[in-house]
Subunit: 409 residues, 2 copies
């Protein structure tokens, strides 16, 4: 008799975003005349820019001609794109080799799959709150105990509370852990780690022979030149860290699907030879994955041209201006809002410490605005909601006004 992977039964609830969609849909059905205003999911709304569109069209055209048609590409990605990423890192002072870089169909699959190359006995630490994929994929793999509904966390996972007291970036844990997920600029809090904060984690990891999984999907939103955009800007990181990133928020590729992972051959684990983690990820990708779409990779190449990069900066500036409208708009009515300066997310304290989902419903019913409940990202997210700057300007303004005019604080 076939049996299921019983770890799935441990999962606390449905994935956060489908639940948000369900509540919003239910409200809309009951109130068909109401216009819902969305500050919820971090989903890009602005069209792709001309250079990228041209790159994608040329990717399609290549497949129309016998001379330029390509079938299976390398699972690791198009060498030209890997080289373009090497050049990008070089501008940050980070020196990588082409085969340190693996192109993928996005940061979500990579951040979900990366845990599979590690043993089940590793102790995992996550920032709390954090993007749910880090925890959920470790639950499914069997690296955790049961969900503790009282505490809102899983037994066996080490949570690093990120609170207003530590600027939403916790120091390394006191106990020994083996795998550490870090996300900076942070989803959901919008906090960005300083060099000193990341150096602490790198030193911890090198001391304890832990591995840092660094999610840099929002690095292009950093405006402050003193803040690190890659973990590899930190001394010693190439020996203990790997990095996951994405074209989703750089270029509006949320639906187009393109990302990358950097797994430096210098990363050492278990006292094995350098290159071991890199070769494991290579084996994982060549066995379970068949490469990112060749059309999409042509679009990715266009992103890293100077025209493409200029246009993408415009896109990012657009969303960052939205972020300032939201943040200032919330502060104006006395709400406490963090993030949003070097990240597209605003992390807002609920008024009167009401619960996240309660405030979600309140915001939906009173102001017709959809947000993301902070508690969906971990227990320390309770009492917060995430507001996203991904939206058309006029809708952002409308949502902020509706909150200002209609929310009963």
């Amino acid at each position: 008799m076939a049996t299921i992977n019983a770890n799935y039964n441990k999962l606390a609830a449905g994935y956060l975003f489908p639940e948000i969609a369900r509540r919003a849909r239910a409200y809309q059905e009951k109130n068909p005349g109401v216009e819902l205003l969305r500050l919820g999911i971090g989903n890009t709304t602005e069209p792709l820019t001309p250079a990228i569109i041209q790159g994608l069209h040329s990717g399609v055209d290549k497949l129309a001609s016998v001379a330029t048609y390509t079938g299976y590409g390398d699972e690791q990605g198009d060498t030209r794109l890997r080289e373009a990423l090497c050049n990008y890192y070089k501008q940050l002072g980070v020196h990588l080799q082409v085969d340190d870089i693996f192109i993928s169909d996005g940061a979500k699959p990579d951040s979900g799959n990366i845990q599979s190359i590690f043993g089940l006995d590793n102790i995992v630490a996550v920032q709390d709150p954090a993007y749910p994929v880090y925890v959920d994929t470790n639950v499914i793999a069997g690296r955790t105990g049961q969900f503790n509904p009282e505490k809102g966390l899983y037994d066996g996972i080490v949570y690093m509370p990120c609170t207003d007291a530590n600027g939403f970036f916790s120091p390394p844990p006191n106990q020994k852990v083996d795998i550490i997920y870090l996300c900076s600029p942070n989803n959901p809090t919008g906090a960005v780690a300083s060099r000193e904060q990341l150096q602490q984690f790198v030193d911890y990891a090198n001391k304890h022979k832990a591995v840092i999984i660094f999610d840099a999907a929002y690095s292009f939103f950093i405006k402050d030149p003193n803040l690190p955009k890659s973990i590899f800007e930190i001394d010693g990181a190439q020996e203990c860290a790997l990095e996951i990133s994405s074209f989703s928020k750089i270029a509006g590729f949320t639906g187009v699907r393109l990302g990358w992972a950097v797994v430096p051959k210098t990363l050492v684990i278990e006292n094995t030879n350098p290159g071991k983690v890199n070769s494991l990820w290579n084996r994982r990708q060549t066995t379970f994955f068949n490469g990112a779409s060749n059309i999409v990779q042509e679009g990715g190449l266009a992103v890293f041209t100077s025209a493409g990069m200029n246009e993408c900066r415009g896109l990012i500036d657009y969303y960052m201006h939205n972020a300032s409208i939201i943040k200032e708009g919330m502060q104006k009515i006395g709400l406490t809002a963090y993030g949003g300066d070097n990240a597209p997310y605003i992390w807002m304290k609920t008024p009167h410490n009401i619960k996240s989902w309660e405030f979600f419903d309140k915001l939906l019913h009173e102001a017709h605005v959809v947000c993301t409940p902070g508690s969906g990202f971990g227990p320390s997210g309770e009492g917060y909601v995430r507001l996203s700057s991904f939206g058309h300007r006029e809708n952002i303004i409308k949502a902020v006004r509706s909150i200002q005019d209609n929310l009963k604080i």
Copy 2:
């Protein structure tokens, strides 16, 4: 200290195709003047057809305009494409619901990932020979013992030998197994299961509450109207089987990346409610995957228009004509060749029973033709090679002639 998933150490060797590429490259480097002729990897070579190109361009254009831009789509895929697939199955007499179908970035990821929703205690049976992904992903998950180099197989896996004696389609195993991988039309043997043969497996699975994972990636190559194109054409299959398929070989999407899985809600496991396996796969996909590219899905929609389908039939006929050239060409010089009638692969017995890799080298050195060693697909593949009909007509003819003229039999 972080540790690796030690199951990776059990893997016998590199993935088959990189090893072929390595040997071919090494030969080419030593013999730069020689033109290598490729009958090896099953990689499409003919350009995409006009209706599909138009669909892909329109997918790109949609992203250029604020009115039609889309970000994240549903992880399960575009509803229109899921409906088109429902309609395709209806033509086979198979009635599915839209939410039985999950769009993905290809059959390789799906056939690799599907095992992760099942428990580690399940006994897995595979056809021998088989596409290496089925076994390798179960090894990595920890469902097997060590590789036995003498026997060329992994302890803990049940191999179902497919030999000339059983027409390269073995009956169900005598012992009880829990998960059965079947591929028809078969990669690598080109054998196609009859209704009666599949009925035996479905009856076995329903009796033992096993699950059949049916790989139908080559179903569009079936010309004989009596042969089933989907496992769901078989009575009782919707209670015990799921099916994986792909646009790669239908439409030349090997590099474009698009596939689907059918996980019927009627599929029951562990005496749990119907819908359990469907909901597990839904949870897996919503947690680890972010949907297939929206551009690529527009191309997939074009495949299932009548213009697209007609053009794709032309592509398939082209490759099938190649298959007959190869098969007849090999038979003409006294070699024994199977498959190739309802499948794009020819399964050829090596002359004088020499080993597969030995024949690979012989064919490479004498005829400058790259094939795929049968032993790379499992121990029963020893003494065979796979010849692929995916190639330009002139190259196929050249390769067949070169074998006829230069191979010393």
